[in-house]
């Protein structure tokens, strides 16, 4: 299966303009940092998920981030507030590069995806540099991804077990070495675990149609024993309730971890992502009325 990213995003219409601009400033800061990390093409790897990581890490830092007014390629004539490069943006950019690269290698080996093969070189150099800086993390991610591939090849039918490996990768991403406090680390690990678990399961649900058509691995199909001739819609109907429950419970735990962090800023934006953004993305994916669902955030919360 492939990991579509971009699930972790704010619910824009509930943000104040001021808050939205702050979010943009971090997003643009990360984009610029990615561009500086080796080549401009790295910016293609930019996703909301890593923006959330950067946002959270900056929020935990006592030191105020520095802002600059800058323009960019996408918007060359208007200057906007951008968070200046700092260690959190660097870390998030490095993790984004490493992770994107490992995913591409995985996709290539798994599915012989030509797109993956062609995109790999973009990330090769920054990853080579990042690898030295994050030797342990790089190996940790690689091993877990390999384990996940093996588990999928063995047709594992326990949803929790497959989700666990992906969740553990996220614990690594959410705990940069420079965070020294044991308490903070523990909470971030827990938060990362639940976020990873949620992404993995939601992604499995979103991919049901594609995976059924192509006979790809999907833990939901195996755990809930899809019956031949059952049809996608009735299968979805059958599993929606337990899947929604486990996803919501996972989010509630993620929120529990989040509430134990000491934030110095961005609380409104982070609250928005955790209590509204994630929930709505999930609802939209579960209702699945919109195909890929990327535009679905426009439809505001009718339940």
């Amino acid at each position: 299966m492939s990991f579509l990213f971009g699930y972790v995003r704010p619910c824009k219409e509930e943000l104040k303009v001021k808050e939205y601009n702050m979010f943009r400033a971090v997003y643009c800061g990360l984009c610029k940092t990615l561009g500086q990390s080796a080549n401009q093409l790295c910016r293609l790897g930019l996703s909301y998920d890593f923006t959330f990581l950067a946002l959270l890490l900056i929020a935990l830092d006592e030191e105020e981030p520095r802002l600059a007014q800058e323009s960019c390629l996408a918007n060359p004539f208007r200057k906007k507030a951008v968070v200046k490069r700092n260690r959190h943006l660097e870390y998030a950019a490095d993790m984004s590069n490493i992770f994107t690269y490992l995913k591409l290698v995985d996709d290539w080996q798994d599915e012989h995806s030509i797109r993956a093969l062609l995109t790999m070189p973009v990330f090769y150099l920054p990853v080579k540099a990042g690898r030295r800086r994050y030797e342990d993390k790089y190996n940790f991610f690689r091993e877990l991804l390999q384990e996940l591939t093996a588990l999928e090849a063995s047709q594992n039918n326990l949803l929790d077990k497959s989700a666990d490996l992906f969740a553990r990768i996220m614990t690594g991403i959410f705990t940069p070495d420079y965070i020294e406090g044991e308490r903070e680390k523990r909470v971030l690990r827990f938060l990362g675990y639940n976020l990873g678990r949620w992404i993995y399961i939601l992604d499995a649900y979103s991919d049901l149609e594609e995976d059924l058509d192509n006979s790809n691995y999907n833990p939901l199909i195996l755990q809930y024993e899809y019956r031949k001739g059952e049809g996608l819609e009735s299968f979805k109907k059958r599993i929606q309730e337990p899947v929604e429950f486990t996803l919501t419970y996972t989010l509630s735990n993620l929120a529990k971890g989040y509430e134990l962090l000491e934030l110095h800023r961005y609380k409104e934006i982070l609250d928005n992502i955790i209590y509204m953004g994630l929930y709505r993305v999930m609802r939209n994916k579960l209702e699945g009325s919109d195909g890929k669902g990327e535009r679905s955030l426009q439809n505001t919360g009718t339940e």
Partner: protein, 196 residues
């Protein structure tokens, strides 16, 4: 000494009413019921103590009552007691090893297995095992309370999101409060929240 106003997220000189309101909100958030079978429950407990302290300090009351304990009920099989003890100390691998060595799979077995899964983050298996335990022993209140608690946690997450939409949604607040007080009276018998 930490600033009690800061702990409650208030400005200096907040009125008693504001203090009570802030306390109620936070106590709801960090209440032990919200962290049942959560590996971070000790941190939530610390936070709760801090909030209680700040509240009592500001309201000029006698400090700290005894906090809730998270011990489980009783059971006759000594190995089950041992497993419960290990779970409480977060030694999940050992707990699971002992549990797996027990031949008879009764309701208690499924319950404890489910709790271990929950602690590990395997919520789906956890829920299934605890449901199974509750199905095998429908009269057991502990099993049922554990299931209710999961549903309660998931629903209070949803309520929190709804409460943030637009300008304050009092109906939701009231609802969360009712749910919360209901649950805390049922499962804990404690009086951490003054409103119930």
């Amino acid at each position: 000494m930490k600033d009690p106003y800061k702990i409650l997220g208030l400005n200096k000189g907040a009125s008693k009413e504001e203090i009570r309101e802030a306390y109620r909100k936070l106590a709801r958030k960090y209440h032990p019921d919200q962290y049942v079978n959560n590996p971070l429950s000790d941190l939530a407990e610390e936070k709760m103590k801090e909030i209680n302290w700040a509240y009592n300090y500001l309201m000029n009351e006698a400090p700290d009552r005894a906090g809730g304990s998270n011990n489980y009920g009783y059971n006759s099989d000594s190995r089950y007691i041992q497993v419960r003890d290990l779970i409480n100390r977060n030694r999940l691998l050992e707990a699971e090893r002992i549990l797996d060595s027990i031949g008879s799979r009764d309701a208690e077995w499924y319950f404890l297995k489910g709790i271990i899964y929950m602690r590990r983050g395997w919520y789906d298996q956890g829920y299934r095992h605890i449901s199974r335990a509750a199905g095998m022993d429908p009269g057991n209140e502990e099993y049922r309370a554990a299931l209710n608690n999961m549903a309660y946690q998931a629903s209070s997450y949803r309520q929190a999101g709804r409460g943030m939409e637009g300008d304050g949604c009092d109906a939701c607040d009231v609802c969360t409060c009712l749910l919360c007080s209901d649950c805390c009276c049922e499962c804990m018998g404690g009086d951490l929240i003054t409103c119930c």
